[in-house]
Each structure stands twice: as structure tokens, then as C-alpha cells.
Amino acid sequence: MANTKTDEKLQKIAKDLLESGEVNLIIGYTKGSNPQRMRPVFITKPEEAEKLSFSHNAVQDLAVFLKKQEVKKFGKIGITVKGCDEKAVNALIQEYQLSRDNIKIIGMQCNGVIKQNLADKGETKVSETTVYDKCLICQEHTPVLYDFLVETEEPELSLSGNVKPYAEIEKLDALSTEEKNAYWAKEFDKCIKCYACRQACPLCFCSRCIVEKNMPQWIDTNSEEPGNAQWNLIRAYHLSGRCIGCGECERACPVNIPLMLINEKMARDVYNLFGYKSGLDINAKPVFGVFSESDFNDFIK
């Protein structure tokens, strides 16, 4: 298959970066063995840059690799990111997990990525019924921060308004406490505590996660209640105000717990309460690292 213009530009940027020694490693996408899937690739030699590619099948958030020691040891890194993934890079910089000087961001303009289950069935058209919910609410089709930008050739995503992203959130909000409880009890009951949600998350970077702390053991490790609810609740809490909505946790979940319904709800609540959206500004302080004297106080007696 011939390279598209996007790919050519991407490969040239990567090649130049590696040749000039500005970066030691480029994390990007390459075509998978299945044409409908793209997989991550790690490029260290300029001549390998031609492996790089990008399309509407590049679903994975590559920022997740930035937290790995194996990647950190390369020092200066270049990364290929979509608008949503770029927010994760920003959040990592905000939380001092990453230095802006050590990273070259190759921003990919993106008009939505096709749901993997549909792509596997042969779907190749980006439309509001085939992309992820996160693409429908996406405000960052062009990444907010980048060193190089690769424009997209895809047509703009047209929204008719008929498909409501994260519609379940409003439905759940309207339910009574018992009904909500029944809904989540059923969902959390499925959890097998594989922690794939944590592993796939670019912002879950603690070297020792709370579930691995056993003096005291805060969260039961067996995969049954109440430990399941506790794990899912604490995971969501640790990400509220930080989650950038890439949806990788939900995609990684082997038992299909709708984790994005929780993450998105918390992102909305934090925005309503404190007017803060995660990952938009590398100079902003994380929302729970600061406070205001006029914060919401109505729930406190």
C-alpha cells in the first residue's frame, strides 16, 4: 500500500528528529498484521522511520508508555499523539512526571478513530456512528500543544446531534439511589481484578498502586464484593480531575465495565465545581493541588 501524505510527513519528521539526535526514541503507530488495526512501534534508527503510519485505526493512547522505566531510560523521546492523547502528555508534565524539554510532540490532527469492533468487521468510514464517544465530544481534533503538526486528510467529522455521546450518564443521574446501586453492583460484579484499566491508563503512574499496599490492606484482592466496588471507586476517585478521557481503561476492560461513564461523569462534575479540565494547559496547577476560599461549601454543615 502506498504511503499517504500524512504518513510521508510523519516519517520525515521522525527521520529528521532521529538523525539530528534530538530524540533517541520515537513512539508511534505502525500498520498491524491486520489492516484494520494499528499497533505501537518503537523506533530508534532513522532508517526505521518508514514503519511509522497513522490512520483512523490508531486507537491506542501511546502516552501510556511514557510512564514505563524502559522508555524513560531513553531520555529524549518523540511521541506521536492524537489530540486526546496529547492531553495525557500535558497532564503528565503538569504532575512533574515528565519534562517538557525531554519530549518532542508530533501532534496528529485527527477527526475521530473508528471503534475497533466495527473496524474489525470492515468499517472504514469515519462517521458519528462509527467513532468512539470520546471523538464526538472532542474539542481537540488539533492537539493543544505540539512541536510538529501533521494535518489530517480525513474529512471533518459531521455531527447531526442524533447520536448522544455518553447518553447513559444522564439516564443514570436520573435514577434513584437503589437503581443506581443495582446498576453498578451488577457491573462491578463482573470485575475480575485484572487491573487492565490501571495498566492501560496513561495517568496511573504510581510505582506502587494502592491495591498493592498491604500494610494495611486497603482493598481486598479477591475478585468479589466488596473489594470490586472499592477498587473501582478508588480508581475513579484517583482519576477524577485528572482523567483526560482517552477511554483506554474501558477499551482494555476484558469484562466490559463501562468505566468511561464514571470517568466522564467525574470530569463533568469537576468542571462544574471548579471550572477545571484536565490536560489543557501545562502551566495550570492540578485541580486538587490548589484550592479557593470560595469553593463549593453547600454540602458541609
Binding site: 443514570l172 443521574d173 439511589t177 437503589e178 437503581e179 443506581k180 446501586n181 443495582a182 446498576y183 453498578w184 453492583a185 462491578f188 460484579d189 494502592i210 486497603w218 468479589e224 464484593e225 466488596p226 466496588a229 472499592q230 473501582n232 471507586l233 478508588i234 475513579a236 476517585y237 477524577s240 480531575g241 464514571i262 461523569k265 467525574m266 462534575d269 469537576v270 465545581l273 471548579f274 485541580v287 486538587f288 484550592f291 479557593s292 476560599e293 469553593d295 463549593f296 461549601n297 454540602f299 458541609i300 454543615k301
Partner: protein
């Protein structure tokens, strides 16, 4: 080491676990800060004021030290209600602990409600060292509220 083992076994089999009470006599846990609310409760005691004995007070240095995980843990162990109380805004012994915790709890409370925990079972208050009266009122009111809730405690923390 031997002692620790014994203690652990007792907890596991449940016989030595804390009595979490019934609906008519519910157990409430109050996480309070060392500098304001604890002294407020102390004042209530030394002033011989009576308040509901359903509450068990756990003293911590500051509301900023009260991790939402503690609230979850209390519910998991069977508490019927959890109160978090600290210094009024501006009065924190550590300058800003209560401001930070206010942000955390505003969010955490939303999350609890969204996941189906009855928000009547969690309460937050600011009680200063001189407000023994307020402590009595808050505890009594909270106990009455918990007692008035329907007698089923199913939530996502219920053991199946």
C-alpha cells in the same frame, strides 16, 4: 509477631470485629480533626452535655489527613453512617488542610452518590473547639437521620 497473628485471625473469623449495630442502634463513625472538632467534642463532654452514644470518634491530625479511603473502609466494615468534621475554613491549624479536603470531598461525595451510595449516610461539618453545642446537635441530628432510613443497607459495599 505471635500477638499480631492472633489478632488477625480474630478479625478474619468476624467474632472480634467491631459491633456495627443494627438499624435501631446504628454505629456511626466520626473522623475528626485534632485541633477543632475533637476539642469541640471534648468541650461537649466536659460541659456534661449529652449526645447520642452511637458515634465512635476517630481522631486524626487534620481533615486533610482523612483520605476518602477511610470513609469507604468504614462503610465496608459495616458503619451505617460516616461523619467527617474539621476546622472552619480559615481556621485550619495547618493553614490549608481543610480547604484541600473540601475540594476532595465535594468530588468524592458526587462519586459516591453516582455509584449508588445513599448520601444521607455521609455527612461533613465544620465544628470549632468552642462549638460543643454544634457537635451535640450535628451528632444527634445525624443519628436520627440514620435511624429514619429504610432498614436495608444494600449498597455497592454490601458483601454478597
Amino acid at each position: 509477631m505471635e500477638d499480631m497473628k492472633v489478632e488477625k485471625n480474630e478479625q478474619k473469623d468476624g467474632t472480634a470485629a467491631a459491633n456495627t449495630g443494627s438499624q435501631s442502634d446504628p454505629r456511626l463513625i466520626a473522623f475528626v480533626c485534632n485541633w477543632c472538632t475533637y476539642n469541640g467534642a471534648d468541650l461537649a463532654g466536659t460541659s456534661r452535655m449529652k449526645y447520642s452514644d452511637n458515634v465512635r470518634v476517630i481522631k486524626l491530625p487534620c481533615t486533610g489527613r482523612i483520605d476518602p479511603l477511610f470513609i469507604v473502609e468504614a462503610f465496608k466494615k459495616g458503619a451505617k453512617g460516616v461523619l467527617v468534621s474539621g476546622c472552619h475554613p480559615g481556621d485550619c491549624h495547618y493553614t490549608s488542610g481543610n480547604y484541600h479536603s473540601r475540594r476532595k470531598y465535594a468530588t468524592f461525595r458526587d462519586l459516591l452518590g453516582y455509584l449508588g451510595v445513599d448520601l444521607n449516610r455521609v455527612e461533613f461539618s465544620w465544628i470549632s473547639a468552642s462549638e460543643g453545642n454544634k457537635w451535640v446537635a450535628v451528632i444527634n441530628e445525624f443519628t436520627d437521620k440514620i435511624k429514619s432510613l429504610p432498614d436495608k443497607t444494600t449498597d455497592i459495599f454490601t458483601k454478597k
